[in-house]
Symmetry: C2
Subunit: 258 residues, 2 copies
């Protein structure tokens, strides 16, 4: 560990970058280009080469898979807990398996995929952190697959809202019902009914194109088991909670329920 230079990690909010020792950060820093992420911006198109990867500092990106005949469905979420462009680590000519786009605007550090690959050859912590994140995404994908097969809409919507909220600051999720319905692979009308029920319970508040989480704990009560499952495993894989028991998701501990 030792002392991390103040000019080093202090300026990063991305959790992968924050975990790097000073020397690795030093080596990586010249290659990082700060960029702004705007809503709807496509970071990677499915089945096309990946030239650049993104370490998010703020904002939120979604990864989707294509069903061809019934549109896109969300299979994973990345915020400042990870990076977008996993295949850059996994093959020399990386091609995206997902469509990745920005839903909540923010900032990121952009990096050439080839550079990331080279850097991971020499920077062990960077490599370890990134590969762990690959594992997180595997786990997340899998759990979502099981959840989509088995759980009903109310639980899934609650889970989804929580997972999104955990990766941003504040309780506001700028997204329409139309968008939510696509992500979850259901009708918009279905979202409307369930969301109103959650609103009736005082757990969320809806306004036009926006969902605000009012009662985090109450929402967690309504969420399916997959929520805790994913967050617990995420913490374990990333090595955040020593006991790997039921720590409160590791993220955003500072922000209680209101």
């Amino acid at each position: 560990m030792s002392v991390v230079s103040a000019a080093g990690s202090a300026s990063f909010r991305n959790e992968l970058l924050r975990a790097l020792p000073a020397d690795e950060l030093q080596a990586l820093r010249p290659h990082l280009l700060p960029v702004t992420l705007v809503t709807s911006q496509v970071l990677h198109e499915a089945e096309t080469p990946i030239d650049e990867v993104f370490f998010l500092e703020s904002g939120l990106a979604f990864l989707t898979a294509d069903t061809r005949d019934h549109g896109l469905v969300e299979v994973g979420t990345t915020g400042r807990d990870g990076f977008v462009g996993l295949p850059a680590l996994l093959s020399p000519e990386p091609v995206s398996v997902h469509r990745a786009f920005v839903q909540i605007p923010g900032r990121a550090h952009r990096l050439r995929a080839a550079t990331l690959r080279e850097m991971t050859e020499t920077l062990p912590t960077l490599r370890d952190r990134c590969l762990r994140y690959v594992q997180v995404m595997l786990m997340q994908n899998s759990q979502i697959a099981a959840c989509n097969a088995r759980h009903e809409l109310p639980g899934r919507l609650a889970r989804w809202l929580l997972m999104s909220r955990d990766r941003i600051e504040g309780d506001d999720l700028p997204m329409t019902q139309e968008f939510l319905s696509t992500m979850l692979g259901v009708r918009r009308a279905g979202i409307s009914v369930v969301a109103n029920s959650l609103q009736g319970l005082g757990l969320i508040r809806q306004s036009r194109g926006r969902v605000t989480i009012l009662d985090r704990a109450g929402l967690e009560e309504k969420a399916c088991t997959c929520y805790r499952m994913v967050e617990r495993n995420r913490a374990r894989i990333m090595g955040l909670s020593p006991g790997a028991a039921d720590a409160p998701a590791g993220l955003d501990k500072a922000q209680g329920s209101r």
Copy 2:
């Protein structure tokens, strides 16, 4: 490339091992322990440490995610096209994210997880092949997630039968309706109805605890788009088809529709 020693790759049927050059195989070979896989054998339990990984030579293993309240659901399949124990490559103290078990008996080469990790440090092809397979699993998980959310049972069952058949020899899948229903996350009664419909069309034949594929092409017709999607991307990621276009899945080309 050069000439691969006859005593080398000739004895392997696993596609990852077959792709290795002679020198890497030479280095790896002493660590491989041939083992037999029996039905229902659990290779890795979810959320428990991985001590050993398995490169399958024959047979079929399934990876499942747990919903806690509604049992296990299949999220991926591994045959001689890959290996079981991905986290061994992704973190120093690997812990399985899935429950992995054998459904169709066969053989495998067992290897200590720590050894695999060490070997990938020095054997570039081994590392490349295994990491590509990680990508395949990511893609497979994702597509299954989308499929579970969007597609209906008939298409999903057909897809599932095809994906299983592609990874084994012959057209016989030794599995009960009960098992199929768990894998797909639906009722057994639902499988019964759909399977009988496929049988009525002459695409499959059922006997007790066994499904036989009679008409591969016809079944593909009934399968949802995810089948072709996954197989196409698998071929692309593993670098099997140069054009990455619509090659016939890369596996089992020799066995026609019978």
